[in-house]
């Protein structure tokens, strides 16, 4: 076997070095559309079921098939889940990128590749441990339908990794059973390939690398899910009844999850009728319009989109803000400007979405950082939208939305649904029909509304985007205009007290503060530990929503330097924080990066060390 000959015997001494257990990153390089998702999900599930903390991130192209894609699997005994820059184990299954992928490897790394992926520099990298496989031969011997060949070829690396790392075969099999929902045939075909590759490794490729996994107890009581599914489940437990949407990556899978879960969780009523509708719109304009229409009539309505869709929803957002109509809009942020990098992560819609509309508009934005918050904000967004009678945005992103994350079980909503200030016909009767749609009765800036269909003769009002007085009558009077905007500003201040409070972790003696949000959080958590080891103690405030509140001001006031960690080029949240706390504007230091990839702890730690003169 050529694979054997290629392994110089002297390398075997490496197996004497101390094993590296449950702490490494696997980078799987494949061709998009080749079915590697199944293989990657199998590895992740198997590791997770062995009790080992694991995360997976898909770095994929905007393409149906043919372009390169990378999937990184981080195994970490301490539970860190952020992306890392370095790879310990490369699965080089894509000849287009194999040379560059090899070049990025550091000394001591592993490269697993099929014989037909020829590596130009292989001879020049004696520092890398190669495992070479006759994958074509495996596939030939498997004797499967030609359409399945590419798919099962990927199972070969699952087998190699299983054997080399010591993943329990029964967990691999169980993962396949979960993936194929118990269908025996595909499980068998795929598992046979896994076994074949593992057996080949056992017989021909002695282990020369130090990486291995060992069973742990760190995932008990947890499960793995992606943020879009978590958000969809949250919306369902928030009582969503109307969804309109237009397909756009990376938000599509949120609506897919709604369509998957709704029939099961919200079965037809006793009359055989549906209690919700999901309508695919002709574009994001129409999707937003339907949300506003349904929200006006009182349904819990939502849509999910991404940056370009948010742009198209601008005018409707302004209308919803000004006519004061509830609705929930999920923005699964991707990289712009323009079409940008549509399959890469970003937090680039923060400023835009907060101010979305024309004229003076400020919108509620929720900022989930993890799966539990994707779920929680999924239902809470409806309560806030109906309480505040305004569009509420949930700013998730591609990394949270489309990648698999470990999570503790969600919490069932602790509070009953808040349907906000809606006057019924009976209440109007008590009021003798005297009410004003835009009148601030309670002093919180939130007026009462009625829903179409209300049978009281004085219930009706005319919703409009044009200037109006407290009775909803058309008005161009300067005082009406100014008073209305002032009330809307007051309502926004009320919102500050209602949106989720930031999570604050302050450490004694810390001189440095960090503020972050969303999917940047896992990298911050890891960076703080690295910084502590380097002698820099930090306090951390994680934002969960806009508008900003007083907790944030107090936090900034306590630290000499506050690093604002985010994934966009213009340091957008820092700008908002500076506007919120002009007195501290110069304390706020941008620690932003925008290259299409999830943040690494290394980047943040370096940035802070540099800023603190300890680089």
């Amino acid at each position: 076997m050529s694979a054997l000959i290629e392994q110089p015997i002297e390398k075997s001494e490496r197996s004497d070095q101390p094993p590296i257990v449950n702490d490494f990153t696997i980078n799987v390089a494949t061709v998009n559309g080749s079915g590697s998702q199944t293989a990657n999900a199998t590895i992740i599930r198997a590791l997770f079921k062995m009790g080992i903390p694991v995360t997976g991130k898909n770095i994929f192209p905007s393409n149906i098939s043919g372009l390169p894609t990378w999937y990184t699997i981080r195994v970490n005994k301490d539970g860190y889940t952020a992306r890392r820059d370095s790879t310990e184990i490369l699965v080089a299954f894509n000849s287009q990128t194999a040379d560059a992928d090899l070049e990025s490897l550091k000394e001591g790394a592993v490269c697993i590749h099929p014989q037909d992926v020829v590596l130009k520099d292989k001879a020049n990298r004696p520092d890398v441990i190669f495992y070479t496989l006759p994958v074509k031969q495996f596939v030939k011997e498997a004797n499967v339908d030609v359409k399945l060949r590419d798919y099962i070829a990927n199972m070969a690396y699952v087998g190699v990794i299983m054997e080399l790392l010591g993943i329990e075969p029964e967990q691999v099999k169980a993962a396949l059973q979960t993936h194929f929902k118990g269908k025996a045939k595909p499980v068998e075909i795929n598992y046979n390939m896994v076994n074949k590759a593992a057996e080949y490794v056992r017989n021909n490729l002695p282990k020369q690398d130090p990486y291995k996994v060992e069973r742990m107890n760190a995932t008990t009581g947890k499960f793995m899910i992606d943020g879009n599914s978590a958000g969809a489940l949250g919306a369902i437990f928030g009582g969503v009844s109307f969804v309109s949407w237009y397909p756009i990556t990376p938000s599509t899978s949120l609506v897919d999850a709604l369509n998957d879960y709704l029939p099961e969780l919200r079965p037809e009523d006793e009359n055989g009728k549906a209690t919700y509708a999901v309508v695919q719109a002709e574009d994001e304009l129409a999707a937003a319009g339907m949300v506003i229409g349904a929200g006006w009539v009182g349904a819990r309505s939502m849509t999910a989109t991404s940056g370009p869709g948010i742009s198209l929803m601008t005018e409707f957002t302004g209308l919803g803000y000004f006519a004061e109509i509830p609705g929930v809009i999920w923005d699964i942020m991707r990289m712009g400007p323009s079409t940008g990098l549509p399959t890469r992560v970003s937090q680039g819609d923060v400023l835009k979405t907060y101010y979305l509309g024309h004229g003076d508009t400020k919108n509620i934005c929720l900022l989930p950082s993890n799966m539990k918050e994707c779920f929680e904000f999924g239902w809470r967004a409806f309560d806030l939208a109906e309480r505040l009678q305004t569009p509420v945005f949930v700013l998730s992103d591609l990394d949270l939305g489309m990648n698999l994350w470990m999570t503790d079980p969600f919490d069932y909503p602790a509070e009953p649904m808040d349907r906000g200030k809606v006057l019924t016909a009976a209440q109007l009767k008590e009021l003798q029909g005297k009410w004003g749609r835009y009148e601030d009765v309670d002093g919180d800036g939130i007026a009462y509304r009625t829903l179409p269909g209300n049978q009281h003769p004085a219930a009706a009002y005319f919703a409009r985007g044009t200037g109006h007085n407290p009775q909803a009558g058309y008005s161009e009077r300067p005082d009406d205009w100014e008073n209305n905007l002032a009330r809307l500003a007051q309502k926004h201040d009320t919102a500050r007290t209602l949106v989720p409070k930031p999570a604050v972790d302050e450490r004694a003696g810390a001189k440095v503060g960090i503020i972050s949000y969303g999917s940047a959080d896992p990298a911050v958590v890891e960076a703080r530990d690295q910084l502590r080891e380097a002698g820099i103690e930090t306090s951390y405030l994680r934002l969960k929503a806009l508008p900003l509140d007083e907790t944030t001001r107090e936090f900034i006031g306590k630290y000499d330097h506050v690093y604002v960690v985010e994934i966009n080029f213009d340091a957008q949240m820092r700008s908002l924080l500076q506007l919120h706390t002009p007195e501290y504007a110069t304390r706020l230091i941008a620690a932003n990066k925008c290259d299409g990839l999830p943040l690494t702890a290394q980047f943040i730690a370096d940035k802070v060390k540099q800023g603190e003169g300890k680089a």
Binding site: K222, F223, I225, L233, I236, F237, G239, V240, S241, F242, L265, R266, E268, D269, N271, G272, K273, T275, A277, V279, A281, L285, A286, A287, A288, G289, M290, V291, I292, G293, A294, W296, V297, G298, A299, R300, S301, E315, F316, L319, W379, P409, Y412, P416, M417, L451, P452, G453, N454, H456, P457, A459, A460, Y461, F462, A463, R464, G465, G473, Y474
Partner: protein, 348 residues
């Protein structure tokens, strides 16, 4: 129609409402605007039919025409939405409560230009509503630009001569298989009234393209959207009468000259043939008629197409009669038991 009136008081309709209860705020449109005469017909018809204002929503986009919902039925909720986007907002509203009735008022700019996409998709979805286009061929609020329905060769003071082919919104509607397509003329009050009644009884999107002259910018003698032109050139394809129930039909109508269309809930549209033998249930014939009228520069009016076989969007989605807004919390939020089972499955 005295049958709808409460016995003993001809001023009250079957809901016990006076016509004043169907009025809106005073119009701010130009004196003599075609839109105001359509508004009057909406008030008359809704009062006559006893349409419940508290179950009606008045929808519009942006433009002169879109202001009109403020001028009728103060007791109905209204929504003056965005330019060209009335269809999507109405779609959401009607999905949220399928028991509502919707009257939408749009214009030729709102529907034919900025809103053409939403208009077509509304028809595809067959959202139940009466969709009135107050069509005057000109943008009034921005002072006199051509709209997409202006005929070739039309002249406007500021915009010059129109060189572009008009969009025929009835043809667009028929091609989208909209099940109720009619054209009329604001100066033909009786026909507008009968068509409105029929449209309000139709289960699905009913499009009424009503030529409604703009007295300020486009009412000169040689404008095809003017009062003088309409009065001189209108050709009715039939005489239309709306009859509330079959019992009222004249017993001895002649099937050779009169076509009867029975609507789902019982009312009848009676079409008395004029010169041409025209069957509005034939979609191909409707398209041909419109094409020929376009070629011959004829101004034809009447019920161009009717098809009652399509399901509405809320029927397709199997929605309940109860408004989604009125569903109790226990129907909206799955129980703790359902939640626990879900979490159990995720943990498995």
């Amino acid at each position: 129609m005295t049958t709808e009136l409460k016995a003993g008081n001809e001023k009250l309709n079957r809901l016990g409402l006076d016509k004043l209860d169907y009025k809106g705020r005073p119009s701010t449109l130009c004196s003599g605007c075609g839109h105001d005469s359509i508004t009057s017909q909406i008030i008359n018809v809704c009062w006559e039919l006893g349409v419940d204002p508290q179950h009606l929503i008045k929808m519009s986009g942006i433009g002169c025409s879109s202001k009109s919902p403020a001028y009728f039925m103060n007791r109905a909720h209204g929504f003056n939405t965005l330019h060209g986007r009335m269809p999507s907002v109405t779609t959401g509203a009607m999905m949220a409560n399928r028991e509502l009735k919707a009257i939408g008022v749009s214009g030729d700019g709102d529907t034919g230009s900025i809103g053409l996409g939403q208009f077509k998709h509304l028809l595809r979805r067959n959202v139940p509503m009466v969709y009135i286009i107050e069509n005057n061929g000109v943008y009034g609020l921005t002072k006199g630009q051509f709209s997409a329905t202006a005929d070739v060769g039309q002249k406007l003071k500021y915009a010059g001569t129109n060189e572009l082919t008009p969009i025929d919104l009835c043809l667009e509607a028929v091609s989208s298989d909209c099940g109720f397509v009619a054209r009329s003329f604001a100066g033909d009050a009786k026909q507008v009234r009968e068509l409105l009644k029929a449209a309000l009884s139709y289960n699905g999107t009913a499009v009424l393209d009503i030529i409604s002259p703009c007295v300020t910018f486009n009412n000169h003698e040689d404008s095809t959207k003017s009062y003088p032109y309409g009065k001189a050139h209108e050709e009715r394809i039939h005489d239309i009468s709306f009859i509330e129930s079959r019992e009222e039909i004249q017993v001895d109508y002649d099937p050779g000259t009169t076509q009867i269309v029975q609507l789902h809930d019982g009312p009848i549209i009676q079409l008395r043939k004029l010169d041409e033998d025209y069957d509005p249930t034939d979609r191909g014939a409707a398209m041909q008629l419109l094409e020929e009228a376009h070629a011959k520069q004829e101004f034809i009016t009447g019920l161009l197409y009717i098809n009652q076989t399509r399901q509405t969007l809320s029927e397709i989605h199997n929605l309940p009669r109860t408004a989604l807004a009125d569903l109790p919390s226990e129907k909206l939020r799955p129980s703790k038991e359902v939640f626990d089972k879900l979490i159990g499955d995720l943990l498995a």
